[in-house]
């Protein structure tokens, strides 16, 4: 039983730390937020394992509900803005290239 619990603990904690690292290192906003939502799920498993069902309930209600939705909205906004900005920058670069071509001619 105690060995089983130890294996359970170590797998839970290793994946938790791996998830947190991936969430922190992910440069794309939406991916980072989805990793963060999964991190919240893992966290409530940890609270359940440590005998804190109150905290697990709160984490489940907040992590799966309102927290994830808030962050997803923000991530989508920033992804859209990045797209717009990239388009704009591409346009600008094209213009500049046109100008330099004209200069060369």
């Amino acid at each position: 039983m105690s060995l089983l619990l130890f294996v359970f603990d170590s797998i839970l904690l290793l994946t938790l730390l791996g998830l947190a690292t991936a969430a922190v290192l992910s440069p794309e906003p939406r991916n980072a937020v989805m990793l963060f939502i999964a991190f919240g799920l893992w966290l409530s498993l940890v609270w359940a394992r440590l005998g804190a069902p109150d905290v697990a309930l709160a984490e489940a209600a907040i992590g799966a509900g309102i927290g994830g939705a808030l962050m997803l909205a923000a991530a989508r906004r920033s992804a859209r803005r990045d797209n717009r900005r990239d388009n704009r920058r591409d346009n600008r670069r094209d213009n500049r290239r046109d100008v330099s071509c004209q200069d060369a001619q």
């Binding site: 039983m1 089983l4 619990l5 294996v7 359970f8 797998i11 839970l12 994946t15 791996g18 998830l19 991936a22 939406r30 991916n31 989805m34 990793l35 939502i37 999964a38 799920l41 409530s44 498993l45 359940a48 394992r49 005998g51 069902p53 109150d54 697990a56 309930l57 489940a60 209600a61 799966a64 509900g65 309102i66 994830g68 939705a69 997803l72 909205a73 859209r80």
Partner: protein
Amino acid sequence: MNMSAVFLGLALLLLVTMAAGLLRIIIGPSPADRMMAAQLLGTSGIGVLVLLSSALDMPALIDVGLIFALLAAVSVTAFTRRRIDQDPS
């Protein structure tokens, strides 16, 4: 061999499969892949919670699973919805 050890072993098995599903969230090429993987993990998470509630003798963990089941749709809805002034893309 008592029952709670069996339940704990089953929870461990589910946790290992969840860890495998985690790979899809981390490498999954498109955001939709990641979202689906997160939903799948939520479902297995409910299983782990129910098994843990028997193994550790904490009936309240079933309530946690209930809340997960209830709110599973929220994040996937938030993922797909568009605002009024926003073109569907």
